[in-house]
């Protein structure tokens, strides 16, 4: 009896096989096809044909480098702004004395995100448009005399990205601060540290795991953003996700699109490795 049980446990691999097979066919294999495509030439209608070439990578790091740079820059800026807004907010939520107030303030951060991402992004088109709410408000007050160009700019994309991913920063930091024991702050003060020192030497290091997780969770989807720059960025705010999308239309270039996605994935993988490395160092310290 005991033996049979053990054998079943070893046979767990058969339980895992269908799922592994599914993921290999629909996840690993497609990525492998993209990798192969990225080294092939462009045929009629944008399809991939032989021979192999490095052309698309050359273009990715040549004419399209500025867009790659912009994507990484905007994602980094989004992460920084989310951190500046999100850290004190998470602190505010987790330091509410009454449990119910804590839950409500947290819920108010999450609730807007139950709405579809497209609609949340569209809402900013209403606000930022040339005849939008912000311009209308400023014009009626006489603060500006003609409409500001807000929509279809990089600023609009930045606002949209911060809006889209802010909870990803707030939630992990909230979890860290929640666990933080505020007696350490008293101890640091008793030992003569001022507020700045207490924050940089005690509070920040102990909540760093949440900060790191939040940064990874914001940066990665921001680099690959497609909807936000598509709806808010126009041509000035074009990001690498839009460039990839364009390669799949009528006059597209699938091998180029593949090369662009491979480079984007490399950026994501590098940032993941940086996160894992920082996290491990943090855990050891």
């Amino acid at each position: 009896m005991k033996n049979r049980w053990r054998r079943i446990r070893q046979d767990g691999v058969f339980l895992a096989l269908p799922t592994i097979l599914w993921l290999v066919i629909f996840f690993v294999l497609p990525l492998a096809v993209v990798l192969v495509f990225s080294f092939m030439s462009r045929g009629r209608g944008g399809v991939a044909i032989m021979p192999f070439t490095l052309d698309h990578y050359q273009r990715t790091f040549g004419v399209f480098f500025i867009i790659l740079q912009r994507s990484i820059g905007l994602a980094a800026l989004t992460t920084i702004v989310c951190l500046i807004v999100g850290y004190p907010l998470a602190f505010f939520i987790s330091t509410r004395r009454r449990r119910i107030v804590q839950q409500i303030t947290l819920f108010l951060v999450i609730l807007p995100f139950w709405t579809n991402f497209l609609i949340r992004t569209y809402a900013w088109r209403i606000l930022l448009g040339e005849e939008g709410t912000i311009n209308g408000f400023l014009l009626s007050l006489g603060i500006i005399s003609e409409a500001l160009p807000l929509l279809n700019t990089q600023l609009a994309v930045l606002i949209g990205l911060v809006y889209g991913f802010l909870p990803f920063m707030v939630l992990p930091i909230y979890a860290s601060v929640e666990r933080f024991n505020f007696r350490y702050v008293d101890a640091a003060h008793d030992l003569g540290a001022n507020d700045v020192r207490t924050f940089t030497r005690v509070v920040l290091p102990l909540t760093l795991p949440g900060v790191l997780a939040g940064c990874a969770l914001v940066f990665i989807p921001s680099v690959g953003a497609f909807v936000t720059p598509d709806l808010l960025g126009g041509t000035k705010g074009l990001m690498i996700g839009n460039l990839i999308n364009k390669q799949f239309g009528g006059s597209g270039n699938m091998p180029l699109g593949s090369a662009l996605s491979i480079v984007m994935m490399a950026v994501v993988m590098i940032s993941l490795l940086v996160y894992l490395f920082a996290n491990r160092r943090e855990a050891r310290a």
Partner: protein, 300 residues
């Protein structure tokens, strides 16, 4: 350094510390006000202007329900391309895709979660990576890799069998299952980790065969996790735009793909009204699913 100068320095640093503290307190109060305003203003504005009498979104002139009326009557301002029929059809497509994809993903996700928690076989680290990657990889990468994969696969099928397959429900469902498996597995594994494995051993000692043990002991205990995973998968499926956009074919648009087509047009009060309806619906749906989840979790 004399004692008096030491005191003077302390005095100075204390004063600067007090200034820092006051600034910090002010910041800690201003930040949430700004943050909550930032989070809620767009949503409030969107809802507000769906009831605005004039077509403009620059200022609120008066309350009206005519835009909601227009939607029901198939009129969308200058754009006549809109039809309530198409929107409802897209919604039905969403429900169909969501249901089928959730069913498959829940079975596959639960199976791998069980195998990872109870099985003893090599390569678990690798499988962990395989389950982790679909969660972190950018949506657009997954979307275009599936689009290319389906194109290549359908081309080959056409060459071999002479029959041409076009993207449609099958490709959308396969794509949705793929990104949902990991989420189901994560939720079910969390539940399994909380479960005492000795319960299964006890069932075994009492003479239950593995099949009986699974259905009488393990499954009832992990059921809340399975339900949570399924609800999460269904929500993600209904909500997905990017991956569906790249894998759908003619006539199989889901609701988000249909809505995207509308949102790309200029801002109109009718689109605001549709957005408001969708917002209310999805909030209700997620709220209900969370309540159900809470119930099923507390029952066990």
């Amino acid at each position: 350094m004399s004692v008096s100068s030491q005191l003077l320095i302390n005095e100075g640093s204390m004063r600067s510390n007090r200034a820092v503290r006051r600034l910090g307190k002010l910041g800690l109060w201003l930040n949430p006000i700004f943050a909550y305003f930032f989070l809620w203003a767009p949503i409030v504005i969107l809802v507000l202007f769906s009831f605005n009498e004039s077509r403009s979104v620059a200022s609120f002139t008066g309350f009206t329900l005519k835009w909601y009326n227009n939607i029901l009557n198939n009129v969308m301002g200058a754009e006549r391309a809109f039809s309530t029929e198409i929107m409802l059809n897209a919604f039905r497509n969403s429900l169909f895709v969501g249901t089928v994809a959730t069913a498959i993903a829940t079975v596959l996700g639960t199976m791998i979660a069980l195998a990872m928690a109870r099985g003893k076989f090599p390569g678990k680290k690798l499988i962990d990576g395989l389950l982790f990657l679909p969660v972190v990889i950018p949506e657009i990468t997954q979307a275009i890799s599936l689009a290319i994969f389906f194109k290549v696969a359908f081309d080959w099928i056409a060459i071999i069998s002479g029959e041409r397959i076009f993207p449609g429900f099958h490709s959308i469902i396969m794509a949705h299952v793929t990104f949902n498996i990991s989420f189901v597995a994560i939720v079910v594994r969390a539940r399994l980790a909380d479960m005492d494995p000795q319960l299964e051993e006890a069932a075994n000692d009492l003479g239950a065969n593995p099949w009986q043990t699974f259905w009488r002991v393990t499954f009832p205990l992990i059921l809340p996790g399975v339900i949570s995973g399924a609800l999460l998968a269904f929500t993600l499926s209904l909500d997905d735009f990017v991956i569906t956009f790249f894998t759908s074919g003619v006539g199989t648009s889901t609701l988000p793909v249909f809505v995207y087509g509308l949102l790309k047009l200029t801002v109109t009060p009718e689109v605001n009204a549709i957005s408001t309806i969708m917002m209310v619906l999805s909030t209700l749906l997620i709220g209900i699913s969370l309540v159900l989840q809470g119930r099923s979790a507390s029952r066990v």
